[in-house]
Symmetry: C2
Subunit: 269 residues, 2 copies
């Protein structure tokens, strides 16, 4: 682990990241010694920092630190946390605090291979995401909704939880973005009021553009999701998981999902 | 600063308090060597921990650590943070992680004496609080809404920001609870969908009970607030501040507020 460029596994107990969740993060995959989709991730980190009026580490020195972190390693999960650092007491962010950078490398989680080929079972979460347009889309450190949602099931056969908002709109998985296919059209939920807009979601949209497929961002609810031809989840670690079962609905075939999965796994940055 | 009972000013960079804001906190005042309203604060800490399925430090050892922290000091701000500790990667809380306790002592902030006697000016925040019944009332570590709201003004003549929710309901200050007086009746916003229910709010309700005054918890909006006879804010550090000005409305007299303030400052636990 590197904290502000120094080998360390601790941070100041007065850091605003701890006290208020005042920061953002990214989770990347290291594969064959390479940080997958680094340009996408850096761009998103920059956008998220800007949304919180946080100063973003400059790309060259951040990448140099990441290379130091993963040196000699081939596979793993890299997490980048940027907080507003330590300042005077109180919520108001002062502009002259130095941000804290925390870079960590962990082993890649091991998932059953069938999750990627046959698909996964989802739990429909009881917790509803709240609407906060000022924070929507941002991968910030206020993640108690995800924690409470993930606490809802313990059956290891269930790979992910599906989150709706207060108006019954389908939004995302607890740690993934969701897409559905309907009559050859790709749809993904509108994340302007809640949810996290991930890098793999962006890449699926790039797939759609480069394959002349429409991809619409819109609101939809459970009946529409259950009527879809295919449903899948994406994030930077899992790649793409087709959804096999949700609320008793079974999807047996995932032809388009698997085609997108292949592209996600092999397309260059 | 004491971290898990040990003199330290740092915590693990893998702590869930940092990664997800997965924890709760309390801010208490130390006055004349005494932790004010400790029984109220511990009860609230216990309730908040329970709401997040966090195990709460036991009262006797927590108090012993607090006494060690403030030993020889007369005045200050004591902050207690309890997080779910460090665990395996991922949102799901495992039950067998040991919570982290962070106790810190800081100097008491100095506010103009006129804030307490003549009252304060408020900024009406543009940020609206989101509705999350699962987190409402809890003093948890997901405080980005407060950070963004507090960033809205820098005029030092403005003492606090007023927060509304998405439905235009008046909820609270960025770091205080709000009351209004209307025809001798005390009213305070319903916090079942957003906001933090503080210990001083509870104490104002105790004042109401012990003085045979009704205190109603209900929804109200700006026009009702601006039509109130008196408005005041409370928290454990400021005690009670009457509101002097909001959106051009001036309150010149605060007879009941000052009576409650006196009680809050002098009533025993």
């Amino acid at each position: 682990m590197l904290v502000n460029g120094v080998l360390s596994d601790s941070i100041s107990a007065a850091d605003r990241g701890l006290l208020y969740g005042d920061g953002v993060f990214r989770t990347l995959r290291l594969a064959r010694g390479k940080l997958l989709h680094w340009p996408h991730h850096y761009r998103k980190l920059q956008q998220d920092c800007a949304a919180l009026l946080l100063s973003c580490p400059d790309p060259r020195s951040l990448l140099a630190e990441l290379e130091q972190l993963v040196f000699g390693q081939a596979e793993g999960v890299v997490k980048i946390v940027v907080t507003r650092g330590s300042g005077i007491r109180g919520y108001a962010p002062t502009t002259h605090t130095a941000p804290t950078r925390i870079l960590s490398l962990s082993p890649l989680p091991v998932y059953p291979a069938l999750f990627s080929t046959e698909g996964v079972r989802l739990h429909l979460c009881g917790l509803r995401l709240s609407h906060q347009p000022r924070l929507a889309g941002i991968k910030h450190l206020n993640r108690l909704e995800n924690v409470l949602a993930a606490a809802e099931w313990s059956d290891t056969d269930i790979a992910e939880g599906l989150l709706l908002d207060d108006n019954d709109n389908v939004i995302e998985g607890t740690r993934s973005n969701l897409f559905m296919l309907r009559n050859n059209e790709l749809l993904t939920p509108d994340l302007s009021r809640c949810g996290v807009a991930g890098v793999q979601r962006e890449r699926v949209m790039e797939w759609a553009t480069s394959h002349n497929r429409p991809c619409r961002i819109e609101q939809f609810r459970m009946p529409e999701l259950l009527a879809a031809d295919e449903v899948f989840l994406v994030n930077s670690l899992i790649g793409l998981w087709p959804v096999r079962e949700l609320q008793g609905r079974i999807w047996g075939q995932h032809p388009v999902s698997l085609q997108i999965q292949k592209w996600l796994n092999h397309a260059p940055d």
